[in-house]
């Protein structure tokens, strides 16, 4: 499970990106938050977005690299990974 929390503006871009890298599906939700860097670009939009995608190790690593390279420097973004056991997992990888 790869989880990305970031600015709303990036949602469309990132979803496109992870789909290209091989994610078969994703789930998004609206969240709020505060981080170490405190970049605040979205007063009005108010919130961050959380993107969760269950992928295999390989795709997961590609996604991590993609996020780190493209967004880490200039945007508010945090990415983390943990292992989950998926029922009928073959469908998703």
């Amino acid at each position: 499970m790869v989880t990305i929390i970031t600015e709303r503006y990036l949602k469309k871009d990132i979803l496109e990106g992870i789909k290209e890298l091989g994610a078969k599906g994703y789930t998004t939700s609206d969240v709020s938050g505060d981080g170490s860097r405190g970049i605040r670009a979205t007063d009005f939009e108010g919130r961050n977005v959380k993107i969760e995608t269950i992928v295999n190790k390989d795709t997961g690593n590609k996604i991590l690299d993609f996020i780190a390279d493209k967004y880490f420097e200039d945007y508010a973004v945090i990415t983390y990974v943990y292992e989950v056991k998926v029922v009928r997992g073959d469908k998703y990888f």
Partner: protein
């Protein structure tokens, strides 16, 4: 002077102040995000519709001059803003262009507040002014985003940002409303008038309460952004405003109309522009451009700027 003071006692301005106060006393008051979004949609659609209905009654020739002037100012204002920021303010290219994009575009709420102000003062601004808002919203942002290109590369993100602005919800609602209003005309519009006209000023009160709360959040950043930006956020709008009054009256706008025109030209966008700039110029610091347009220019215009433009418009036009 009279008119300057009387503006303070309008429910709209007072609601804005209440929003600032609520944040300062750390109230747990919160305008739910969907309410804020709903009122946005409503206000944009409403001014589009009213503007479209009025436009359907306006002779084309009367509208041509002001439209041309609007495009002209949409090109000039981001450039003056950029030059001031880059050469006088010593900001870097990205930040200068990012802030300039905001001042090239327009704050719809400032526009609405100006309409409310001059109407309360007995004026009747031209009905086609919302059309000018729609015209002004776009070129300023694009011109500003093109500036860094003259210095460097990254064409792709500009294209993306342009798309973002053109298909952004503000433009769709404003232009869509204009077209619907224009095609419907005054008779068919009557059925929806209580909703879109009767409720307008009241909805604005709640919207400004929220804007006050957001502005208060930005006020804390005021110290960080420095004195130059504070000056910039007050005097460049005055400059742009006076230019707008002068050109606007040449193009045939009334005193009331040129006051509203000045308010819109001088205002800084804080909805369409930030989204576009964030994508096209990620290295520009949002604290700078949001604090300038929302924390400085917006309250200045709402509280002092509009009355000043009105006095100047009477003086130039009288």
């Amino acid at each position: 002077m009279e008119s300057l003071l009387s503006n303070f006692a309008s429910p709209i301005v007072l609601a804005f102040v209440l929003g600032i106060m609520a944040k300062l006393i750390k109230s747990d008051l919160e305008i739910p995000r969907p309410l804020y979004q709903s009122i946005s949609i409503y206000l944009l659609l409403a001014i589009g519709l009213k503007g479209g209905v009025e436009l359907s009654k306006t002779p084309f020739m009367e509208f041509l001059g002001p439209a041309a002037i609007t495009v002209l100012l949409g090109v000039i204002t981001p450039i003056t803003a950029f030059l001031v920021l880059f050469y006088l303010g010593k900001f870097d290219i990205d930040n200068s262009a990012g802030i300039a994009a905001h001042y090239g575009s327009v704050s719809v709420v400032t526009f609405i507040a100006a309409i409310a102000y001059v109407e309360a003062a007995g004026g009747t601004p031209e009905g086609f002014l919302p059309t000018l808002v729609a015209i002004l919203e776009i070129p300023g942002i694009i011109v500003a985003l093109l500036i860094p290109l003259a210095f460097a590369k990254k064409k792709q993100s500009i294209k993306k940002a342009t798309r973002e602005v053109l298909t952004g919800s503000s433009i769709v609602l404003l232009v869509g409303g204009l077209i619907i209003g224009y095609l419907s005309g005054p008779v068919k519009f009557e059925a929806v008038e209580p909703f879109f006209v009767g409720g307008f000023q009241g909805a604005l009160v709640i919207f400004l309460l929220e804007l006050g709360m957001i502005t208060a959040g930005r006020l804390r950043d005021l110290k960080k952004v420095g004195a130059f930006l504070l000056m910039f956020g007050i005097f460049v709008p005055i400059l742009h405003g006076i230019l707008a009054i002068w050109l606007g009256q040449i193009a045939g706008l009334s005193i009331a109309g040129s006051t509203v025109f000045a308010a819109m030209v001088s205002s800084g966008s804080y909805i369409a522009a930030p989204a576009a700039v964030r994508i096209a110029l990620p290295k520009a610091n949002p604290s700078l451009y949001l604090t300038a347009s929302l924390g400085i220019t917006f309250p200045f215009n709402i509280i002092l700027g509009i009355p000043i433009y009105f006095i100047v418009a009477q003086w130039i036009g009288g």
